[in-house]
Symmetry: C2
Subunit: 146 residues, 2 copies
DNA sequence: AGTGCCTACTTCCCGTTGGAGAGTAACCCA
DNA sequence: TGGGTTACTCTCCAACGGGAAGTAGGCACT
């Protein structure tokens, strides 16, 4: 009769590994980067001008809260504010308040944010290059299982 | 009395933009990539061997379901299965069932998945390079507001 | 024969997250 | 006084995801 049942052993193994990938330094930043809206905000702040369907290139520029809100169609104000705050906290964007008639708040990428933006740009390019392939795979997979 | 109140106009503007970034081809793939577990699974399948705290490099290899489950400490079985299915659907990983004594299911990166993994590797490197900076920024931000 | 264990899931319950929409502050305009 | 602006904040609720337990199909011990 062992001191540990199989179930207990399983928990033990799990606990042993908990400090493993959870402690990976990439993991914490990965969680931040893989936030639904972070990538889009970076993309928006990294691009300029109104871009025709899907074009996210261009020079970095500062944007107002309302501009971002309009640009990132689908983002709730709550999440936009929240995400911008966390990006500011991480030093990826700067937040500047200008006390004009109605207050104006502008957000801009820092150098750090800009460097991350370059990575995002690469991902966007990958996405555009392989979009068709992925879509094709999905279709095939769906018809196969139907 | 205008035909449109300001509120209605706002909804109108929103609807106009809804088809905008939502239709961006990057957006759909971005949603997939920025899934909490996708990046981690890709990292796991792209690395090999047990790696000491935070080391996610190495050669791609196939892994069993249970291996992944152990490696990605913290993932629920539900999400692991779900995520693997969607990755398979997208053609990023292959799923092979070998009818051994207890069935063995192995997952492996496809070429497409491998190419995405390279991007992930770049992100991991960025994360490691700038982790300290971000952590410093956070600390500063937190002390400032306290 | 019965109990237990294995893998690779699926199912159920429930807490947290995030969206929709209304409310707020501070000020301008008619 | 009523409406407008911007940049939020708050409240309510649906849905996503985690934890734990259940399932199928078969080996292995006793």
């Amino acid at each position: 009769m062992p001191t540990m049942t199989a179930a207990q052993k399983r928990s033990q193994v799990k606990a042993d590994y908990d400090a493993f990938l959870a402690g990976c330094p990439s993991r914490q930043l990965l969680d931040r980067i893989s936030d639904k809206w972070v990538a889009l905000i970076l993309a928006a702040l990294g691009s300029d001008g109104p871009h025709p369907a899907g074009d996210c290139t261009g020079e970095p520029q500062s944007m107002r809260y309302s501009e971002l809100s309009r640009r990132l169609a689908g983002v709730s104000q709550k999440m936009l504010t929240q995400t911008l705050r966390s990006l500011e906290r991480d030093g990826l964007v700067t937040r500047t308040v200008t006390p004009t008639v109605p207050v104006t708040v502008t957000y801009e990428l820092t150098d750090l944010g800009l460097s991350l933006h370059h990575l995002m740009r690469a991902i966007k390019e990958w996405a555009e290059a392989h979009m068709d392939e992925v879509l094709g795979n999905r279709e095939e997979y769906d018809t196969r299982s139907t």
